[in-house]
């Protein structure tokens, strides 16, 4: 595994590289479902949804991560982490391209992944694309 990538993806407000907590970021908690590996997002009730639109956005994600740890122990999910999201046109969307693709599906196969199920972030519906200059 690429440790750089892991450090990056697992970065949370309490694990910022500078060591300083930054709770102003809006974040959501995501993971993969153990039984089938499908990407899931933590909702407001602490459950897990395949639909990005149901993800609960937090300014302080520590409680969400703590709940996620319990679900790891309960063998429901694997590899939970927080991602940064931002409001675009009134909808949350992942800030990083990696997370936009993960929440949407392969940009080269629009018939696969969450985009094919209607579960992709609304603002990112056209985001991961080979076409130039398309805003995320």
């Amino acid at each position: 595994m690429n440790c750089d990538a892991l450090r990056w993806r697992r970065r949370t407000p309490t694990e910022a590289p500078s060591g300083e907590r930054d709770i102003r970021l809006t974040q959501i908690v995501t993971a993969n479902r153990l039984v089938d590996g499908i990407v899931v997002f933590q909702d407001a009730s602490g459950g897990w949804s395949e639909d990005f639109a149901r993800a609960a956005a937090h300014e302080d994600v520590r409680d969400g991560l703590a709940r996620a740890s319990r679900d790891v122990a309960a063998s429901l999910i694997v590899d939970p982490y927080a991602i940064e999201v931002e409001l675009r046109n009134g909808h949350y969307a992942p800030k990083a391209l990696r997370e936009a693709i993960r929440a949407t599906g392969p940009s080269v196969r629009r018939d696969l992944g969450k985009q094919a199920e209607g579960f992709a972030p609304i603002a990112a519906a056209h985001a991961p694309t080979e076409k130039p200059h398309v805003s995320l």
Binding site: M1, N2, C3, A5, N32, L34, V35, D36, G37, I38, V39, V72, A74, S75, V78, D79, K95, A96, L97, R98, I101, R102, G105, P106, S107, V108, R109, L112, G113, P128, T129, E130, P132, H133
Partner: protein
């Protein structure tokens, strides 16, 4: 091809049962992910960006029709109707559910396949020339030795927890089609002055973040010493390879830090100390394994086919296919056909279940039930009679598999990149798609001639960009995808690592940059017979740098 004996079948079946139990225990919460991860990795199961990914071994890239059909079945039944052929001659499914993987492995075992050692710090699937056994330039078929190495290395108790993964490739012709010098051990079959067959042994090749071309440690290794010498290399590596830093753990780093002479001395000392006796390969065992790879009974036929010549004369697309996707077989009147998995604008290496079935049917009908997977992410029909070429072509065309671009600029290697891979830093497939659309498979691509573009979506270099004539490495800078270009790499017998040509390009400008490089080559080459690689080696980087960074306004320096 090799057929499992009772031991092989029992061994693979036992592994399936073991893994089923491990998955059951994981799903029941009896195993944590940390406990389970080594088990799933040793069975080729990764957790990727969107889902799990199962990597299935295709030993030395050889498949039967029955096996290909099973892969198609699995794609339909358990995955999303397609598979991805890789630069390790393997097949990856991108969407399997963990709960289904034991059943998938059981289905694979029913056709003598598995996913063992396609991940983890062990000896990985042994690769070989995809023209093995049929190439006109071949000294000997490398697959019997690859199979012997596979059997020896499967669950090898001493080498199952190496400092890092370990890759072996075997090539049997003077033209290296297996990229052996980019492997931890590269074996080149050679003949000595007495006319005996043996191996030139290369060690310490590898790509990734620290690329090295392999160094020759033996000019001639007798066949009987193959396993003893491989064991000596691995033992030295296992003892001395670094375990403190995974990025410095491959044998290439050991060779670099220890020096070629010192490493060779250590290997030879280990080899001598053991005397080779305990692992000497008996000639009868080599012959027994080689018998599995006996060529099919191909009666020599006329060296040209009137049917083919007639069709070539009136069908330009078929003529192009013959020119680029068909090479001579060692038996007159037969051909080796490359089935390009690089449709213009398509995803390199992907094949749908229907396409897999179609190719399996063709293998059965026209290629003596044999198929190959190439490290260039194409499929091969190795035994096609020239008179059958028209029928093979028509059936390939009917399923979108007759793209006439093998070896041309649009025959691009690309890793899955950020579209699928959890490690990737940028997308690679869209760049390959746009490049293939830019250059196509027609007159322009043919005028450019042989040119290998290889694209990786991160520094781990699964897309072999270091040995691409034009290599493209996707990185992430300040949240944006950026692409670094290397020139002059080669994975053949003249292997070399490409040189970084300068600052990277954005996803918008990288295709134009490649076009500038190609245009510069076309303007400066000494005629069509001088390939891109030859021209680059003659000219050096200067004219390309000038074109990219001084004259080309499209580059974002």
């Amino acid at each position: 091809m090799y057929r499992y004996d009772e031991f092989d079948a029992a061994f693979v079946a036992a592994r399936v049962d073991q893994f089923r139990d491990q998955v059951d225990r994981r799903l029941a919460g009896e195993l944590t992910e940390d406990q389970f991860r080594p088990h799933r990795l040793m069975n080729g199961l990764y957790l990727q960006l969107h889902s799990y990914m199962l990597r299935i071994a295709v030993p030395y890239g050889t498949l039967s029709a029955r096996q290909m059909r099973k892969l198609a079945d699995i794609a339909r039944k358990y995955d999303r109707g397609y598979g991805h052929f890789t630069t390790r001659q393997n097949l990856q499914f991108n969407w399997p559910a963990l709960k289904d993987v034991p059943d998938i492995l059981a289905e694979l075992a029913s056709v003598e396949m598995h996913a063992i050692q396609t991940s983890g710090n062990c000896i990985r699937n042994v690769t070989a020339d995809h023209y093995a056994g049929v190439a006109a330039d071949e000294l000997a078929d490398p697959r019997p030795f690859a199979e012997i190495l596979r059997q020896w290395s499967s669950l090898h108790p001493e080498f199952s927890f190496l400092p890092r993964k370990f890759k072996i490739a075997v090539n049997g012709a003077p033209n290296d089609r297996a990229v052996i010098q980019a492997h931890d051990i590269g074996l080149q079959i050679v003949r000595n002055e007495q006319g005996e067959l043996g191996f030139a042994v290369y060690v310490g090749g590898g790509l990734g973040r620290t690329p090295f071309v392999g160094r020759k440690v033996r000019d001639f290794l007798p066949q009987r010493d193959l396993l003893a010498y491989a064991e000596a290399i691995l033992r030295v590596y296992n003892l001395e390879g670094r375990r403190d830093n995974k990025y410095k753990a491959r044998i290439k780093i050991l060779l670099h830090e220890k020096g070629l002479e010192a490493l060779r001395d250590a290997v030879e000392a280990e080899f001598s100390a053991r005397g080779g006796a305990s692992l000497e390969l008996p000639a009868e065992e080599v012959a027994r394994i080689a018998a599995y790879f006996a060529p099919p009974p191909l009666a020599p036929r006329p060296a040209t086919s009137e049917r083919v010549e007639r069709r070539r004369g009136k069908d330009a697309q078929f003529a192009k296919f013959c020119e680029s996707n068909v090479v001579p077989h060692k038996v007159p009147g037969y051909a080796i056909v490359t089935v390009s998995l690089k449709p213009i604008g398509g995803v390199p290496g992907d094949a749908s279940a229907d396409q897999m079935d179609a190719v399996a049917d063709l293998a059965e009908d026209y290629s003596h039930d044999e198929l190959r997977v190439s490290h260039e992410q194409n499929l091969i029909l190795p035994n096609v009679a020239l008179d059958d070429l028209t029928a093979v072509y028509d059936r390939l065309a009917s399923v979108g598999l007759a793209t006439p671009n093998a070896g041309l600029i649009s025959d691009i290697i690309a890793c899955p990149g950020l579209d699928y891979c959890a490690l990737a830093t940028a997308r690679s497939i869209p760049i390959a798609q746009r490049l293939s659309e830019r250059f196509g498979d027609g007159a322009r691509a043919r005028a450019i001639g042989p040119l290998k573009i290889k694209i990786s979506g991160c520094i781990n270099a699964c897309g072999h960009h270091h040995v691409g004539h034009i290599g493209i490495l996707g990185l992430e800078r300040a949240g944006e995808e950026t692409y670094q270009i290397t020139l002059g790499g080669s994975g053949d017998e003249t292997a070399s690592i490409g040189q970084i040509i300068g600052p990277g390009f954005s996803s918008e400008t990288v295709v134009g940059a490649v076009e500038t490089i190609v245009d510069t080559y076309m303007a400066r080459r000494n005629g069509p017979e001088e390939t891109f690689l030859d021209a680059y080696r003659r000219l050096g980087p200067a004219p390309f740098k000038e074109a990219l960074y001084l004259r080309n306004a499209g580059a974002d320096i």
